[in-house]
Symmetry: C2
């Protein structure tokens, strides 16, 4: 357990645009989740863009983000057709609300990988990463749902960045993530793996944060 | 177990447009799943429209179905804005590919119910149906994934119709559904419940079928 104790998570000091070679990572929308007085929640999932040899969008926000997402891509000089790969870290509506903007992209939702209606064989659900290239890979990180994935980007100015969906709700989510989890035991194991692997984590419902090893 | 033995499933004799009062049910796209030689699968989810006091779309197909879906709605005299409620039976890409066409609808994906970014309290995950009105309700039917739902429509010319997502792959799916299931034991229990409850079942990847009790 000593390795766990030597890891701290901290929100400070990282811009939401992380440069890198060959890949840069930009948070297009920072997710949130806040309770309302009537028992409802206001929630949306983080939307992240990875640019480099491939253009990769990780999570697409809720259906109400459609126009926002198109406008944000345009700010980056992109159209939906410019996106090569769209990843839905898991199949909740605030993460997969806008897959339909990308009918020709390679679509990865959880452990399912498709190009249009052709679903490609892969070993994600057996725990084998799906490699995009030497710098980007899809990692199997279930628990929040049954087949969640995260995206690992190596070689940025902040080191390795993990776009983690709801594996982490936010930096300091120890009070809340378990009640949102379909399998807390498996999720906890994957959270620890993520903290070993990443220098920066982009969570599903809060600002990105740094992983510090001491 | 005697009740199980007295139930037969049969594909014959039902049109994909089922009239009813006050609700009618139309299969806009019949789902499929076929293996390819290279280990891939061609697959798409069934898309179903329920019309009456509320206009309800159950599953939205894959992202590549966007233009098809808009055209099919138009054939029915509808635009995406006419749809009041969109249900994604579960969060796989061939079922939730086009949520973004419906930013103002009530969105139900699995047990999550939202209007834009407001997620409404409900008891679906505790097994409590979510009632739309006297004739339509959302039923918790997990197993294929962890939080799947089905839509029950009462009072059609064929009796009670259950739009079941991948609770059933197709009528005769006994050789294949378990390998696609996250929890076959729970799914089997919900399949039996569905067969007790429905006269017609619309499955996720094949033609609708009749449930016959003898």
């Amino acid at each position: 357990m000593a390795t766990h104790c030597s890891i701290r998570k901290t929100e400070s000091g990282i811009n939401s645009d992380i440069c890198g070679q060959p890949y840069s990572v930009s948070v297009l929308k920072e997710g949130y989740c806040t309770a309302e007085d009537d028992g409802a929640f206001r929630a949306d999932g983080t939307i992240t863009l990875i640019t480099g040899p491939n253009t990769i969008l990780v999570d697409t926000g809720g259906p109400w983000d459609r126009d926002f997402l198109v406008a944000k891509l345009k700010e980056k000089g992109l159209t939906p057709d410019s996106v090569d790969i769209v990843v839905g870290t898991h199949g909740h509506s605030d993460h997969v609300g806008n897959l339909g903007l990308f009918p020709e992209a390679k679509i990865i939702v959880g452990s399912d990988i498709s190009v249009r209606d052709k679903y490609l064989p892969n070993q994600l659900a057996e725990g084998q990463p799906y490699t995009i290239d030497d710098f980007v890979s899809i990692i199997f990180t279930p628990g929040h749902m049954g087949r969640d994935v995260s995206v690992l980007v190596k070689g940025t100015s902040e080191g390795s960045v993990l776009v983690a969906g709801d594996l982490f709700e936010r930096c300091h989510d120890e009070d809340s993530w378990k009640e949102l989890s379909e399998n807390p035991q498996i999720q906890e194991a994957n959270r620890q793996m993520a903290l070993q692997m990443a220098d920066v984590i982009i969570p599903g419902h809060g600002p990105l944060f740094r992983v510090q090893r001491e």
